[in-house]
């Protein structure tokens, strides 16, 4: 593919690479951030949902009279009311073997998971709306819940009659001589893994405010979404609101991590309520709803086997990844992306493995729909691959570094059996660097000494390659549908200040700072003169979503392309004013300078002023538009890589695992802002420690979710935070602005495997090897007690 919007201009890194403090911080630190719940519209009403208490049941009656009669209740809608306007939202993954489902806005006739919205009460306050919900009576006739994905795929009752055999997704490929690899193997290392059900758990829950003006047919929808342009598209596609009169606004957002990269029934229902009730309607999700209904993530059962030759080189892989998908596909990522990615993308990883037998499947179950969460598909895939690498190291009596070096790809570009081309990477260097950071011989010595005292420490390694900068090329490379491009607008004002608008929303990643750094280097203006708006409104630009570690690459590319248009004009004007060749002009430190001619310069402010107010300074044919909107979509898939090594200690009294230290190597090409990159690593790794040691959404045998509060769903707290040592490798991409690669998911992708491997190393004297996460203290204690 070659289109103009795939080409990114070059840029000289000046501000890029610096630890620039975030401009957002003073506002957020002083309580001035405006998150969804902080917005109050005049006359707003509050919605609260009646949610299913049954995993699978026929609704025989919904009684709303008492609720309607309550003072302060304005409306009560059930499934029938919502269905008059919208049958539901359709979800599927655009890959071979996926079967779509339609998720109603409010359940009709049948409920399919605990927490599914059944009715909505709209009232003058949230307190009264909750009182109203208590007065709605729903009668259920129980149906058999489908709770186990692998048995669900073998037959029995259906979780969702749209998928009678419970198959929501099934497919795969055999690549290369898999049979031969396994027949000739010196050893086969295999295991079955269970990767637990997680919640992304953003600190700010979901929420929506809808406001409609019938005179202009104008709909405004506030939602802390990672995909506001997609939501806007859905408002027209599903609800028929005229697209030109829809505006989706994204306030400050308290984390997303993929959970907020979906459309939800609530987001489609509130616009209808606002229109029909003729008043703004607000819904702020509470934490119980968030844990119960805001998409679950990552749960899979995975069978995986690697064939190794007598030199301990991996020669083939077989994988069957089964997702426990919940009752519906949650658009757009659906329950499919998790097992699909695990099976089709991750089993080869950084290793040169020529043969692969890959099977993915997702079962519909009577649980909350599975959606995206940071490292979707990659985390579980990296877990099983890297854990078996350590199992193989023990079997071959090699160090965890050596076993990986036997198979790691050393030459680029490299094409894996799936046909994906990796242009560059520091895959071997990552392993070497981690070994150096850990000081492996010293670790082994300390481990032995502590063991003699009855203390057990372990070292775990996990290396990864991560698809980043999610793009059309990335989708094509993976046989995944979808077109991605984003726009950015760069506008220079008469005083030389710059306003930048990007199509991506931000949930705390600091895009306003990193994008300002890109513009500063492109235009030579100081950071204080640049304001970045991160898709605060869909009125401006287009964005495909803050997903797939794409922010820096995609927004960066669009910003640089747009900025370069302004740059070209400034350079042309400066050349004219300074009587120099445009090729000799650079923009730096607030001025256009003639290279090699000291003292010959004009300030950017003067240039901007001349563009707006002084035609006499213009060169011939000068177009004074100092505003440009351009799109970007990289020509090729972009991959970053890295690894983590962790040292853990297990407590013989309790089986508790403590992470003593994390060593991280990250190669995301050119680093725009090391503080921000390191922040992404630490945050992701601690989420990974949570996934490995604490976090688990649990259903009981009747399909009730047991973990509906933070007292039961345990996220890492500060006492679970290890010290970090972070090392940057920089292998720039040749296809992105300045060589930037994305890295937002790397911490969570690879940390759980490092924890599991470290625990298994700590337990290596016991003969027990654990293959499930989260690792429970009980499993560890059992292992230690033999």
């Amino acid at each position: 593919m070659s289109f103009p919007h795939s080409q990114s201009p070059s840029i000289a890194a000046r501000s890029i690479g610096a630890r620039v403090p975030r401009g957002d911080d003073p506002r957020l630190l002083t309580g001035r951030g405006q998150y969804l719940a902080d917005i109050v519209l005049p006359g707003e009403l509050h919605a609260c949902f009646v949610r299913s208490s049954a995993a699978h049941a026929r609704i025989t009656r919904v009684t709303t009279d008492e609720a309607r009669a309550l003072d302060g209740v304005v409306a009560v809608w059930t499934g029938e009311d919502a269905a008059k306007f919208c049958e539901g939202i359709v979800g599927e993954l655009e890959v071979e073997g996926c079967f779509a489902t339609t998720m109603p806005l409010l359940a009709r006739d049948i409920v399919r998971y605990v927490g599914e919205p059944v009715a909505v009460v709209v009232a003058e306050s949230r307190y009264v709306a909750e009182d109203g919900c208590d007065l709605v009576d729903v009668d259920y006739e129980p149906l058999e819940p489908v709770l186990h994905p692998r048995s669900a795929l073998e037959g029995g009752p259906s979780a969702n009659e749209e998928l009678p055999d419970n198959v929501a997704l099934r497919g795969g490929k055999v690549l290369g001589d898999v049979e031969g690899a396994f027949n000739d193997a010196a050893r086969v290392i295999e295991a079955t893994f269970h990767s637990g059900r997680l919640s992304a758990g953003p600190m700010e829950t979901r929420g929506v405010i809808a406001s409609y003006d019938w005179t202009s047919r104008r709909l405004r929808l506030w939602t802390g979404s990672q995909m506001p342009h997609y939501i806007k598209y859905c408002l027209t596609a599903y609800l028929g609101f005229p697209e030109n009169e829809c505006e989706v606004l994204t306030p400050d957002t308290g984390g997303g991590f993929g959970q907020k990269a979906h459309i939800f029934p609530e987001e489609m229902l509130l616009p209808l309520l606002a229109r029909e009730l003729d008043r703004p309607v607000k819904w702020v999700e509470d934490r119980r709803e968030n844990l119960m209904t805001a998409t679950h993530a990552h749960e899979q059962f995975i069978d995986i086997a690697y064939a190794f030759d007598s030199d301990a080189r991996a020669t083939g892989v077989r994988i069957r990844a089964t997702g426990d998908g919940g009752a519906y596909h949650q658009p757009p990522w659906s329950m499919g992306v998790e097992p699909w990615c695990t099976a089709m993308v991750t089993p080869t990883g950084v290793y040169d493995i020529p043969a692969a037998d890959l099977t993915y499947e997702a079962a519909a179950t009577n649980k909350t729909p599975i959606g995206a969460y940071r490292g979707v598909g990659y985390m579980a895939g990296t877990l099983v691959r890297e854990c078996l690498m350590d199992d193989a190291a023990r079997a071959f009596k090699l160090s965890p570094f050596d076993i990986r070096r036997r198979s790691v790809v050393r030459e680029f570009p490299w094409t894996n059996p799936q046909g994906i081309v990796y242009d560059e990477g520091s895959w071997l260097q990552t392993i070497d660097e981690l070994e150096r950071m850990v000081d492996y011989p010293a670790f082994l010595e300390r481990q032995a000494a502590l063991r003699a005292e009855g203390r057990f420490i372990g070292l775990g390694l996990s290396v990864f390659v991560e698809s980043s900068g999610e793009s059309t090329a990335m989708g094509k490379a993976h046989d995944l549908g979808g077109i991605y491009h984003d726009t950015a607008t760069v506008k220079m004002e008469p005083n030389g200040s710059v306003t930048v608008t990007i199509g991506l929303t931000t949930q705390g990643q600091g895009h306003r700072t990193t994008m300002a750094q890109v513009v500063a280097d492109s235009l030579g203006v100081p950071l204080e003169a640049i304001t970045v708006r991160a898709a605060e409104s869909t009125t401006y630009g287009w964005g495909s979503g803050t997903v797939g570690s794409r922010g820096a690459v995609i927004a960066g590319g669009a910003v640089l392309r747009a900025s370069n248009v302004i740059r070209t004009k400034l350079v042309a004007l400066a050349a004219s004013m300074l009587e120099a060749d445009p090729a000799d002009i650079d923009l730096v430190d607030g001025a256009a300078v003639v290279l090699g001619v000291p003292g010959s310069s004009v300030s950017i402010i003067d240039l901007a002023t001349a563009v707006y107010f002084d035609q006499s300074a213009w060169p011939a044919d000068f177009d004074p538009t100092l505003e440009a909107t351009l799109a970007y979509d990289p020509a090729r898939p972009i991959f970053s890589n890295g690894g983590h090594a962790m040292i853990v200690e297990v407590a013989p009294e309790t089986g508790f695992v403590t992470v003593e230290k994390v060593f991280s190597v990250e190669d995301c090409g050119t680093v725009i802002n090391p503080d921000i990159v390191e922040g992404q690593i630490r945050g992701g790794v601690v989420q990974g420690i949570g996934a490995a040691l604490l976090e688990r959404l649990v259903y009981d045998d009747s399909g009730q979710l047991v973990t509906t509060t933070l007292l039961d769903y345990h996220m890492p707290s500060m006492d679970f935070s290890p010290p970090f040592e972070i090392h940057h490798l920089e292998t720039p991409s040749s296809h992105t602005p300045g060589g930037i690669k994305g890295m937002g998911e790397s911490g969570l992708i690879a940390a759980p495997a490092a924890v599991l491997n470290a625990v298994n190393d700590a337990l290596s004297h016991t003969g027990t090897v654990l293959h499930d996460i989260p690792i429970t203290p009980e499993q560890v204690l059992r292992a230690l007690r033999g």
């Binding site: 630190l29 002083t30 600190m203 308290g254 984390g255 630490r682 989420q687 007292l711 500060m718």
Partner: protein, 160 residues
């Protein structure tokens, strides 16, 4: 005030300003601060006392404002995140948070700042004291270690 009633009168001092309001007895202090007084810097993250985002200072001690009814604060002095900067200057603690990149999305930050403020006012906390006190707060973005560093540096700057 011995006749049970669904509405109650409360008098509180918040960030040095006195307020008198009649509120629902069931109104939580976090909702009062946010919805009645417009002090939305205090965030509500879980409403059941676990995440710590809503932490404020009551008579100089940190407390979860979601775990208090407004009326329980009657007659008390409250401080929220809005009180920390003096004039147009962030407090040393706030400045250290920025310096150490101790916030990303910012939703949990007010709670951390208020607990840390109380801790710093009590004396010179050790790293262990910081972890012990701030383990009652969730942050999903930073991985915590920058927060520990920020508070530690602020403690070193604090005149004691």
């Amino acid at each position: 005030m011995t006749q049970p009633a669904e509405h109650v009168s409360v008098q509180v001092e918040v960030n040095g300003r006195r307020y008198q309001r009649s509120v629902m007895a069931r109104l939580t202090l976090s909702d009062f601060l946010r919805d009645e007084l417009g002090l939305t810097g205090t965030k509500v993250g879980c409403e059941h006392g676990v995440c710590g985002a809503c932490t404020i200072l009551i008579d100089d001690e940190p407390a979860r404002s979601c775990l208090m009814l407004t009326v329980q604060a009657d007659g008390k002095k409250i401080r929220t995140v809005e009180s920390l900067a003096s004039g147009r200057e962030m407090s040393p603690l706030q400045a250290c948070f920025q310096k150490h990149h101790a916030l990303q999305c910012g939703f949990c930050t007010a709670g951390f700042l208020m607990s840390a403020t109380a801790l710093l006012e009590e004396g010179q906390p050790t790293r262990e004291d910081i972890v012990e006190t701030l383990s009652g707060h969730y942050c999903r973005c930073t991985g915590y270690s920058p927060i520990i560093d920020a508070v530690e540096e602020a403690a070193a700057k604090e005149p004691s």
